[in-house]
Symmetry: C2
């Protein structure tokens, strides 16, 4: 039964069962629910949930899910609400379950380099705890101050640094998860090697809250990397950029911390918006911005200089500048960071695509060709984390004629996601599917894959109570 | 119906359906099945399968599984038969499905560093293809010439090098899997970032052939690492060894290629068996053998010397020797490699345990105490891949009095696995569960975890046809 149709007495029974178990402070309904719980950073149309639950322990979450299960009320887990795909937006008749009171850093072992955290801890709190212990947490992204570790895990967040340390999945040693019926799966065993049956934790990472509620995690930390070296290089084509990346990784295994590609369409906007002088005497088709990080600054600078020097000799790098100071490095990064200005300077239709590395150059050009053919005069900016195969494309909806934003978005998405499907790429490299990309999931997953996902969902959540309608529909 | 009870006419129908579809060459039964297909390296009691299938394509495997599904005949996938847990041994009435004719290296991209292989390719063939292209495959283990990539994936193999590059899971970018009903799951998209619904490939890695038959894989390659530096260091305790590891990893991120710990009980046997002189003036509680690898030999040697020097100053390292040549390095490794002589010199009861890193030292001592209390005079050797939390313990059954090997094994396993459960460790770090460790799976997994595993198995293989009775029972 849709929740909006739940008879009032049943609903009152349900809420009082929750209040009796969790305490009045942990259960709010009606106007007592702050409106920021009605949607997330995706800008999805707001919807009031049936209740807002704020349990403060795994036991409370287990009890809450048991009650929701008994009353057949769906549950939408909410972290920091920073998702861009609408994965945490209330569905009709659901309660939202916030992890914000479970935000402790429970323990940190700086020798084994493992931190045990509750799911409501912010990414920044984990990063700061790591730094205070002389370590580094391998995931970083712009929403660090608001996003929560549970949400990062549920969406397998990426962000900066994936080329060096991988996604959230690669940081995860152990998880605790509460299932739809309230059962607690304790998988908090922080061993790299543990081949004892199915490695269940991987089923929950990236499942966007549809299979279980992540309550605690044991995360791997990295050694601190105090030294950094930065360069900007002009390259003739994507193949040369990939070759340069390979040479840097061979010379500094594990040391390439960033390898960002900017097409000239992006660079020209960056120069205009920042007012910075052109970095090279002439324009080039592509610029690479790369950071090496590690223990020894002079060794990193030497390695960067040697690899770039040899690449210039063989023509794969056309020109290059090495930052001689942190200020210079920040200046080079300023070009890449104009993406923060997209919302104010463009009406951006943003893409978060990944492709097999060798296909990126062709794909980026075919996107522009296809868009130009449909929308002559479109303004599109291309950039990406080349080391991860992650391409971002932003098209300014205001450059597409008289279409509404929604019409423009639909038209551009149809073109771009069609090309993604042809190239065997992913319509969502790191943001997940949520609500917004559901229509395009089939571009990246086959009917057999989707049927298998549904079979798993049905096995773990037979009543379709956890974040129903997100990622895919069960019908 | 157990296969042994299948009526002869139904069995003949089944075999002729297979022969019609796969060709006579790909279906053998009765005495035409070589006896090496009756068991594996685990030494499990041999059993003749109903038939031996040798399909040569994914389409043939799909067709074969469809026929088996229609006839309700279980299927045991077989790779190189090198498993030590009995995972590939025929179950009563099953056919065995060999991947040995699907052994092609289909393509290799040395720039994106991705190799696409069929599941029957040996690990060594993949390693050699990588080397020929100037790359390195990150997994290595003793059975490399016989074991197959499909088996490595199905068991999430570890081996040497896990501290640097992770297990098979961490090498895997894409998979192709055939499900119990013959459906083909094509997950061959080699992107690091791809958050489009559940990442299904992780469900099959390490599932020991119980959820699907892995047919092809896209695997990540590493840059070649031509340089190496080796040292042997004496340390007072495991905590000091862990601190040393942390310092090496901080100094050489991604560069620690091996970090092997040998307790004195192991070292004394190694010295006696090899006839080598004692490496240091006096005996020490623990020796660490470590390799750094990378691009620049002198940089590695300098790093190793600097870290060991500083560790000696603060007392965490008691003595150390750096190999000055490859011959010297091989001599140091000779000590560690006496494990190859265990079968001829001992009646070894072998353990493949992992533990939270900080617990290893205590655990290793408690094992010895518990064994000594039950079996005074037992001979046990302790060594391990400390960087992975992986502890190996081998107890000589001949040192346990008049028990039969089976009795001795049972008694020692009960003691050791009991301690593993208390310490929150894993009864199988890298060898999997198969048949042999089923009785002890509950030491490392909770009832809720086991119930969840069964729910997933039932969702993907409702007739329990794929490798039934391995890892856990469905009853």
């Amino acid at each position: 039964m849709p929740l909006s149709q739940i008879p009032t007495p049943a609903c009152a029974d349900f809420l009082s069962a929750l209040t009796d178990t969790l305490g009045a402070d942990a259960v709010r309904s009606g106007d007592a629910i702050p409106t920021d719980r009605h949607t997330d950073w995706s800008g999805t149309a707001p919807l009031a949930p049936l209740a807002w639950l704020r349990p403060d322990s795994t036991a409370q979450i287990s009890a809450a899910l048991r009650i929701c299960h008994a009353h057949r009320v769906p549950v939408v887990p909410q972290g920091g609400l920073t998702g861009l795909a609408g994965g945490a937006v209330p569905t009709p008749g659901a309660v939202v379950l916030s992890l914000d009171r479970m935000n402790a850093i429970e323990s940190l072992d700086p020798v084994a380099r493992v931190v045990t955290v509750q799911a409501g801890a912010t990414l920044q709190a984990v990063q700061e705890a790591a730094l205070a212990a002389g370590c580094l947490f391998g995931v970083d992204l712009g929403a660090r101050g608001s996003c929560q570790i549970g949400g990062n895990l549920a969406t397998n967040a990426g962000g900066n640094g994936v080329v060096q340390f991988g996604m959230m999945r690669e940081q995860t040693l152990g998880l605790e998860v509460v299932l739809a019926d309230g059962s607690v799966l304790d998988m908090l065993r922080p061993m790299v090697k543990n081949n004892t049956g199915y490695d269940l934790k991987h089923w929950f990472i990236g499942s966007e809250g549809t299979l279980g509620v992540i309550t605690r995690a044991q995360l791997r930390l990295q050694p601190a990397q105090p030294a950094r070296a930065t360069a900007l290089a002009a390259v003739p084509d994507v193949a040369s950029a990939l070759a340069l990346l390979g040479q840097l990784q061979a010379r500094c295994p594990g040391g390439v911390a960033a390898f960002e590609l900017m097409w000239d369409d992006f660079v020209q906007h960056a120069l205009a918006w920042t007012g910075q002088p052109r970095p090279f005497d002439q324009d080039h088709p592509l610029l690479v911005l790369t950071d090496l990080s590690g223990a020894d600054e002079s060794a990193l600078a030497q390695a960067l200089e040697a690899v770039l020097g040899s690449a210039m000799e063989d023509g794969r790098v056309l020109d290059a500048v090495l930052a001689q100071s942190q200020t210079q490095a920040a200046g080079l990064w300023r070009l890449r960071e104009i993406t923060a200005e997209f919302p104010s300077r463009l009406a951006p239709i943003n893409f978060d695509i990944s492709l097999p590395q060798a296909a990126i150059g062709d794909f980026a050009d075919r996107c522009i060709d296809a868009l130009s053919s449909r929308f002559p005069g479109h303004r599109s900016l291309r950039f990406g984390h080349l080391g991860d195969g992650n391409l971002h494309l932003s098209t300014d909806a205001r450059s597409l004629g008289n279409l509404s934003f929604a019409e423009a978005e639909h038209a551009v998405e149809a073109i771009v996601y069609g090309l993604v499907a042809e190239a065997g790429g992913s319509v969502s490299a790191e943001h997940g599917i949520g609500l917004h990309k559901k229509p395009y999931l089939g571009a990246s997953r086959s009917p057999t894959e989707l049927a298998t996902m549904r079979a798993i969902k049905h096995a773990l959540d037979p009543l379709n109570q956890l974040n129903p309608g997100k990622v895919f529909d069960m019908a």
